[in-house]
Symmetry: C2
Subunit: 503 residues, 2 copies
Amino acid sequence: MDHPFSTDTSLTSEHFRAQMSDEDKSFADEIEQLLSDHRSQSKTVLKEAHLSELYDRFNTTEMSDESGTLSNYASILKHDILPHVVNVGSEYCVGHMTSALPRFQAEISRLVSLLNQNVVKIETSRVLTLIERQSIGMLHRLAFSQSDDFYAQHLFEPSSVLGVVTSGGTLSNITALWMARKRLGPDELDGNEVIVASELAHYSFRKAASLLGLKRDPIKVPAHSNGAINLVALEETLTELREAGDRVLAVVGIAGTTETGAVDDLKAMAAIAKRHNTHFHVDGAWGGALLLSNTHRNLLDGLELADTFSICGHKQLYLPQGISILLCRDPSLGAGIRTQAKYQARPKSLDLGMHSAEGSRPAMSLHLHAAFHVLGRRGYEELIDTSIEKARIFAELINAHPAFELLAKPKTNLIVYRYLPEQYRTNTPAGLSEHIDRVNTWLQERQFLEGNSLISRTTLSSSEPYGRGSVVALRAVLANPRTTAKTLQSVLEEQVMLGDMAP
Amino acid sequence: MDHPFSTDTSLTSEHFRAQMSDEDKSFADEIEQLLSDHRSQSKTVLKEAHLSELYDRFNTTEMSDESGTLSNYASILKHDILPHVVNVGSEYCVGHMTSALPRFQAEISRLVSLLNQNVVKIETSRVLTLIERQSIGMLHRLAFSQSDDFYAQHLFEPSSVLGVVTSGGTLSNITALWMARKRLGPDELDGNEVIVASELAHYSFRKAASLLGLKRDPIKVPAHSNGAINLVALEETLTELREAGDRVLAVVGIAGTTETGAVDDLKAMAAIAKRHNTHFHVDGAWGGALLLSNTHRNLLDGLELADTFSICGHKQLYLPQGISILLCRDPSLGAGIRTQAKYQARPKSLDLGMHSAEGSRPAMSLHLHAAFHVLGRRGYEELIDTSIEKARIFAELINAHPAFELLAKPKTNLIVYRYLPEQYRTNTPAGLSEHIDRVNTWLQERQFLEGNSLISRTTLSSSEPYGRGSVVALRAVLANPRTTAKTLQSVLEEQVMLGDMAP
């Protein structure tokens, strides 16, 4: 018969061949060179360019009809894109929860991409489905320490859900609350259910409340000056809600707040949640990784009592963006969100789309599998212990420096502080605190644009436990393995210099 | 001062260095070799192994304390993993919406991974935020053809949402319905709202209903024998719901059903939705890419009237798993789901986390940007036109073959058919139709395990429009650029051979 189409004649098909063409090879080499050059830069922003200047380069919405060469695209990457990303791998990038990655993970990304497995169903993922379940099982054991029999029974049992891999921490938290909601009978779903969490809870819980159709934002419970939830206030809040006839969907504990890295008293919260007969979720998106450190895991005591627990791979597990894990203590909890179809997610299949808010998704758990093999638990322990030690040292540097004020004693590896030279430390005249806030805002933005180092910024509001009213704070995240004490010294020195220039 | 930690002494830090170590280089070379070997295989499953045999290799839930070498991990990839994935790039893999990818996208994945930009906020993504907004803008223009002034006004306006990049089609659909729900006043949110869609709608809409806390699954409207929604039945359903006092959250049109690739009459549906004053969402996860073909885009007439529209990058845009785009005709619609915080997603920022169910996420839109530059619109047109031509030819092959029955005339590039040798074609005695279903089920599973080719399977239920009662169907997805007419001939020949062996 005729072959009216062939893989070898068309314009596009050359990109789909099994073997790399010479053009593909050159492109791969160019990308490697670009990455290598980029990673050896210490600048955090390579070219100072206000966003508005960049708009002009990316404002076309007409798609080109024509195809282009890979060489031309490499040139676009080199000239228009790479100089204008944030160099999160720089040792001076200590502002966000995004840092340098282990080099080998880029090769795993290449593999995940080109193998293009879709873990929504076993027929397009096979062994990667098993690897996902195994990786979840390892984290489950780390968190919940169940018996060998338990794991033998549930690891590959289709109806058991030890956890769910999601694209990120927000989706993990949303999935946890979705499961929690399904524990309530359908008659109790009228949108009047509430989530209860510390005032320092991540904004993903507000997203969750909105998405789940709850009529109210999460109820905020005050925190202590160390950043941990006030347990007495929690108990009172739950009692008041019950007396008012409101149904509590879940109590949320935080293992590593976004602003200061503080950890709630999870053991006490678990007991309170149990007494009030409500779901207990722990948001360990950031701090859950402390489980891997024998030195620091005691900070998470009580986590093993949580019903659900989120931990992000792309934060302190040093995986690329795009992987978070929600763990479920009870493997039957996931049944509440089970969704099946005739073409996939069929009953008794291992299709992962059956127990997930997502459908098609990449085999990101291979990154976790690789990291467990290459770094091992002790590798992670070393990374975490070092980060916490760096935070302690940075706090000391700040405390020792007359131009800075430490705003909270660090419990883990986040630091909030502000620029406050001595002339501002006397009794605050009217308008001075606003001035200090403006200077700190300006300082953070200026430092970002200079591109030598990157610290982030937040506002510790008056309802928060720092006892200073509303305060603009500089925020450092000490998780970048390339950062040294000397780096941190330089960051402060630059801030002093910029602070002197502040308008 | 002291340097109590350094990047160059510890066990783990070597993985974080700017330059590749010799070990990293060897690993990269090994991965390239593995990928190259893998892609040159035509087998769809390289080693026949029942999943149960694989369980034993991945059943440990004890994490190793020790670190391992990259060379050892490459060996695990080679021996335990790659032989047991599904070779979705094989020309014989025509069963699912996952296929070969353009080779250069693997290099983009490497770049996205190692640059590790987090598009949740501009401070960890900068130019990638602009690229995401630009890519969305291009797709928006393709779908909704607004004026130059419109795009000049909205493309980089923080409060305007032309669309949202999500991790997948399910999340795009969920986000659309979340926005639709927010169009209703808070008083109307009590869980009694309903989604209305064809009986052939994807199961993500049941997930959406569950997640949003709706008390009912989507209301199913019958479809015609061509797979398109029955418009009279839609009108009746909406009228009945209104008369019963039910609030319709959204009417969903389908551009490419999961089972047969059929497209609803979007123009007529838009008019009906407008008349009933309800949100009109189009699920173009699969078929939305037809927009890029001047030959076939007329199938999507009326799409420009949709309020929201989902299209998956990792389907017919040939991007790696993990990117779907929800487009919003009206840029103010996204305001309903806006969520802000003090440390990011601040008002007036371009932080993408503000208008998304996700938070931290990778810069996947760089894949889209690269594809638009390298393939161009015409490259996509060629891919799509060829796929539809392949489907036409496959349907002809099936129709011409005495052992097969075509179950629906293809509108795009999905084919449903079944093995039905002549001896079964006479009037069906009792029990024979169950036997035919069993044979087709066995055939599909057997063919998967043999690993020479991969076709998927679904059940066309009795409520569906094929007029045959419930039927087990073989399902082919013609989207793999490496597939030729000869490939398709072989797939059928193997099915005939296996059919003869059926128990």
